[in-house]
Symmetry: D2
C-alpha cells in the first residue's frame, strides 16, 4: 500500500498516518518528494485498512499494491491448474468444446442435441434445467425433470454434463446430476452460492459478470477456492458496453491477461459474447487463436423453436461446420513451431 | 412487435413470417415500403417469440414495442405507489432519509449511530448484518447477532430498520427483525431471492445492479410484485462506467425516467453512487432536486474505524450539516409555486 | 511516480531501475517490502518516463502520482477563475443560464428565440452556425450567414453570443462574431483547434468528450491555457454508457470533483445530457443543486420544426417555466445559511 | 421509420402524425394494435424528420428502420472494396501487416525500424510525424521533418508509408509524402478533416473513435466517400470500457459485423486495443482468426527509449516472432477447405 499525501499536508498529518501504520503492525516508509510526501506500508498489510487511511487529514489517495486475491494467483501456484474429467482436460493446451441448448426443453430435444454434439466431436453437453430469466413470465426451465433428461443424455452418449445452479439450496441436487456446475453471469457475485459450490468436489464453471473487472472475477473464484474447491473453469461471456450491434462485447483481452495472473483455465462463450448467430463462428476462431482453453457454444436441433436464446444458437449444420473448422485449427496449431532458439539469441 | 425484413427478402420469406404470426394467435400487418417490407404483429404477442422470428430467412431485425413489464408500469397503475411505515411515506412528495453504517459492527456502534441518525432528523436506520463483500477475507457481517443489535436500536430510538438479505433461505429470519428488506446491487438479478421477498408482506428496497438498464431494473421489481408484494422502493446507487474519479457514476437521469414509466417510488444512494465522502453532500442535494423520494446515506460515529466503506461514510458532524441543508431545501420546496395558469395559457 | 516491482524481481532488476532514475535527474527511493519492492521517484520527474520504466525487466507496474495538468489545477491557482462578460460571471456562485437553438436556421428564428431567451431572464444566447453532424446528409449549419444573424440578435437584445467553432482555420472568423467560442464534445481532443482558441482573448466553452475522463477533460483545458487563454468554461454534457432510456448519462459527480481539483468554472448541459425534453427540467434543477456554475439549454420557438435536436429542445412556455423555477431556486439558495460555528465545534 | 404511439394517444394525435407524414411527401401506414397504434412511414423518408415526429403529442417513440449510411453499405455495393497499393491489397482475403513506431523520432530510428519491418515480411511502414498527445507538454512529433524521414525510409526499403494527419489544412502536405493517410481515433468525428481527406485520391485509414458505435464509425466513412474518395480502410483499435487490466477493450465483434453491413475492408490495431506489450501477440492472432483484413502494430528498435507508447510497442525480436507466427497462420488458412457440399445437404 502506498499513501499519497496532498501537496499541503502538514508534518503532523504525516506523522499521524505513520503512527497509525505502526500501531497496526506494519512499518511506514516515508519518501519526502519535492512536491509531496509518499508513505509506503511495509509488513503485514491486512490490518492497515485502505479505507481508514483514506479518511485521515492530508491523505490524497491510497494506492493498493498487493493483489487482493491469493489462492487463484500465479504467484501462489506457478503451474496451470488442469481440470480433468476422465481424460478431458481444461487448461492442458488442447481446447475443450462444450455445446448444447440454452435450456433443456424436453427429453427428445436434449437427446437429439446430445447426439449432434457427440457426432460433431464436441466434448461436453450443456443445457439449463434451472434458468435465470430477466422476465418472471419467461420459461424458467424444467427444474429437476430437466436434470433427469440430462442424465439420460449422458447415459446414451457418454458426454459429461454442464448445467447451471441458481442458489445454494439447490447445490446438492444439481451436483447429483451434473459433472460440472455452472455459475451464471448474474450470480458471479452471489457469494452464498459461491461458498456453496466451494464445498463440493465437482468442477465449477464460473461465468464472468457482465460488468465485472478481472479483479472481481478472480475474487469470485477466490471465494470458491477458499472453501476448498480448486476445480474452477473461468468463462468469458462478453461485457456490457455502449455497443449496439452485438448483445455484448466479447472481451478477448482477458484471456491472456488472466493466464498471466492466474493458474486457472479460462474458456470463452461466443454465443452470449455476441448474441448473434452470424458472429459465433468468427469469434469462436478468435477465441481459440487468443489461447482460450475451450468454448461454450449454444446449439439446438431447431433454433427457430428454441424456448430461449434462439437468435444466438447454431443449428446442427452450422455447428458441424464450425467443429470442422475448429478441428482444422487445432491440428494446424499442433504442428506449429515457434522460431528457434538461435534466432531469439541473435534477435 | 415490428419485424423489419431485409432489402432483398423474397415474398416467400414475407409470407412465411406472416404465417408464423397467424399460427401463434396474432395478426400480421404488412407494410410494403419502397426499400423494404415491415410487418407489425397485432393481437396477443407473447406467443410470437422475438427470438424465433429473428431466425427466419429474410428477417433483418425484430423490434419489440410493448414493454416487457406490466404490474410495475404506470400504464397498469396510474397513481403513485406510496410505501408507508406508520406515517413515513415513500413516494408521497416529501423525501425520506435513511441513514446508518455500512455494517453493524457492535452493539455500541449501532446504538450510537441510531442516536445520531435520530437526533439529526433522519427517518430510518440502515445497517448491514449480512454483508456481500468482494473478498472472502473481508468482514462478512455479524449475522443474526447484528440483527439483534438493530432490533435493540429500534427499541431505543423508535427508528425503523432497513437491512440487507443475501439469500432466499435467510428471508424469514431477516424479515423477523427488519422493517424494510434490502436487496443489494449484486443480487438485483438473483431471481430466487427476488421471488422469496415477493412472498412476504414487508417493504423491499431494491438496489439497481451496477450495469442494469432501466428495463432490467423494472423487470427485477416485476419479479417481486408478480409474487404478490407491491411494497417496493427502487434505489439508484450509481452505475459502472469508464469514469475514474468516482467509484460509480450516479445516474440521476433514471429518477424522472422511472417516474414517467412506473408508479413505484425511487430513492438515491449518494454514498455508493460517488464512493467519495466529499461528493456525498452535493449529490444528495442534486438527488432531491431531481425528484428522488428519499436518500440512503452512510454515516458512522467514527468513519476512520469503520469495518467497511469508510471512505464514503459521513461522520456525525458532516451528517448533521447535511440534514440541516436537506431540511432547508425541503422547506423551501414546499413554498414553491409554479408559474400560474394565466401565464401558461398565454405562453 | 511509484514503481512496483514483481514479486520475483531480482536485485539486478531493482538496481537497473534505480540507475535509470538517477541518470534522468531524479532520485530513487527504495522500499523493500515483505512481498515486493517499491521504488519512489523523487525530484524532477518529467525526464523519467512512465512508459520506459514499464518496459524494464522486473517492473510490474508504474503508478503516476503527480497530476499531468498544472495550470488548470487548484494546486497551481487556489482561487476560482471567474470568467466575466461585462457583469455576467461564470464561477462567482450565481449560476449563468445560456439558452438558444441547436442551430441558427434563419434570421427570424434566431431573433425570435433571442427575445424569448431575454424575456425569460437568461443571460447568454447560444446557436450553432457551423454544425458537426454525424451524417454528411444532415443540415450543416448556415456558416458565416448564421454568424451574422447571431450578431443581429445581439444588437437587438444585448445578449452575448455563444457559438461553436469546428476547425482552427475558422477561429478568427468565429471570434469576430462570438463572445464565447464553443468547442464541441467531438472536438475535445482536436488539439490543433484547442491550440487555436488558446491564442485568442475571448472566453472558450469547452464541452467534455463523450467518453472523456476528468483527467483528459482537464488536459484539453490545459492545452488552451498553456497557449495563454485562461478564460475557460468547462461543460459537462453527458457521457456514453450502456444506458438505453436517455441519449447520454449526465455525470453530475464531475461537477464537485472538478471544483475540488481545478479553479475553472463548470456548467452543465441537460439537453445533451439527457436527450429527452421531459428530463431537462429535473436535471437542470439537479445541476444547480450540485453546484454547477451555469446551464446550457436548448430552446426553440417551434421545436417540432427545428432542423436539429428537436427532441431535446424546450418550447418557449417550457423554458419560461423552467426559468421561473431556476430563479426561485437561486433566490432560496441565497437565503441559506449553513449550521453555525458553535454546532460544528461541538459536533 | 416506425412511429409508436402511447397507449392513450387519441385519434386526433394519430391523425396529426399521419397528416405530417403526408405533407412531407411520404405515406403513413397505420396499424391499430390491441394496446397501441403504430404508424409506418412509406416512401421517401428524409423529409420526415425523426426528431420532429418525436415532439408530437401522443408519440411514445420513433424507431428508424433505414440505415443512415448509403455509399458505404453492402446494400449499395455488393462486392468487397479492395484498396490496392501496387499489389498490396486490403480486403482481398490475405491480411496486410502495417508496422512501425508510434512516432518518427529521428532519421536513424525510422530507417532502422523500416529495415526491421521489411526484413520481418510486413507490408507497410507506419510512423507519426504529427502526433495528437493528450498533454500539451508531451512530444508532439517532428512535423514536416518527420515526413521527410518517412520518405527516405520508403526510398531505402520500398515500403509504403502510413502516417496520421491532424487537420484539414495539413492534408495536402501529408498527402505529398504519405501513401495512406491515417485519421486517428480522436478525430473520427472531426468532420472538416474527413471532408478534406475525402477530396484527395489516396487511401485513408480511418480509426474508430474510442466510444464510437458501428453506425457512427460507418457514418464517418460515409463523410469521406460522399466527397468522392472510396479508398477507405477501417481500423478497430479498442473501445473505452470499465475494464482496468488493458488500456482499451479490443472489440473483435465489429470485424465480422462490419463485413456483413459494409463493403469496406477493416483491419485491427492490437497495440492500442490492448495497451500492453504482452497481449499484442495473442490478440494479433485473434484478429486474423476473426477475419480482419490486416493488422497495425507498433514496433520500435528500442521500445525502452521510445518517445511515445513504449509500453505497447514490440521490440524487433518480438515482432519477428509474431511475423513468423502470422505467416504460419496465413499459410495454414490458405490450405483450409470447408466441409463439402454433400455434407451440408445431409446435415
Amino acid at each position: 500500500m502506498v499513501i499519497v499525501m496532498t501537496v499541503n499536508a502538514s508534518s503532523l498529518d504525516i506523522s499521524r498516518v505513520a503512527e497509525y501504520i505502526g500501531e497496526h503492525g506494519a512499518r511506514p516508509h516515508i519518501s519526502h518528494g519535492e512536491e509531496r510526501t509518499i508513505i509506503g506500508v511495509i509488513g503485514y498489510q491486512h490490518t492497515v485498512r485502505r479505507e481508514h487511511v483514506a479518511t485521515f487529514p492530508g491523505v490524497e489517495k491510497v494506492i493498493p499494491i498487493s493483489k487482493p486475491f491469493k489462492l487463484v494467483s500465479r504467484e501462489f501456484k506457478k503451474d496451470n491448474t488442469v481440470v480433468s474429467l476422465n481424460g478431458i482436460k481444461f487448461g492442458d493446451n488442447k481446447p475443450v468444446i462444450i455445446a448444447g441448448p440454452c435450456s433443456v426443453e424436453s427429453e427428445q430435444q436434449i437427446l437429439e442435441t446430445a447426439q449432434i454434439v457427440k457426432n460433431s466431436g464436441a466434448h461436453l453437453l450443456r443445457g439449463g434445467a434451472f434458468k435465470p430469466r430477466s422476465s418472471p413470465y419467461s420459461f424458467q426451465g424444467l427444474g429437476k425433470q430437466g436434470l433427469k433428461f440430462l442424465q439420460k443424455a449422458r447415459e446414451e452418449t457418454g458426454l459429461y454434463i454442464v448445467t447451471e445452479v441458481l442458489e445454494g439450496m439447490h447445490v446438492p441436487l444439481v451436483a447429483e446430476y451434473a459433472d460440472v456446475l455452472q455459475i451464471g453471469a448474474r450470480n458471479m457475485q452471489n457469494y452464498e452460492l459461491l461458498k456453496a459450490v466451494g464445498r463440493i468436489n465437482k468442477p465449477v464453471l464460473l461465468k464472468r459478470g457482465m460488468s465485472a473487472t478481472m479483479t472481481e472475477f478472480l475474487m469470485s473464484a477466490e471465494y470458491i477456492i477458499s472453501e476448498g474447491n480448486s476445480e474452477i473453469i473461468l468463462c468469458e461471456r462478453g461485457i456490457r458496453t455502449f455497443v449496439e450491434y452485438s448483445r455484448n462485447t466479447l472481451d478477448l483481452n482477458i484471456v491472456p491477461a488472466v493466464k498471466n495472473i492466474s493458474h486457472l483455465p479460462i474458456i470463452v462463450d461466443p454465443s452470449h459474447g455476441t448474441g448473434r448467430r452470424d458472429l459465433i463462428e468468427p469469434l469462436s476462431m478468435a477465441a481459440l487463436a487468443v489461447g482460450a482453453d475451450g468454448l461454450l457454444i449454444e446449439v439446438h436441433p431447431h433454433p427457430e423453436q428454441a424456448l430461449s436464446d434462439a437468435d444466438q444458437t447454431l443449428n446442427p449444420l452450422e455447428f458441424r461446420r464450425l467443429m470442422h473448422r475448429i478441428n482444422y485449427f487445432i491440428t494446424s496449431q499442433e504442428n506449429y513451431s515457434p522460431e528457434n532458439g538461435e534466432i531469439r539469441v541473435t534477435g
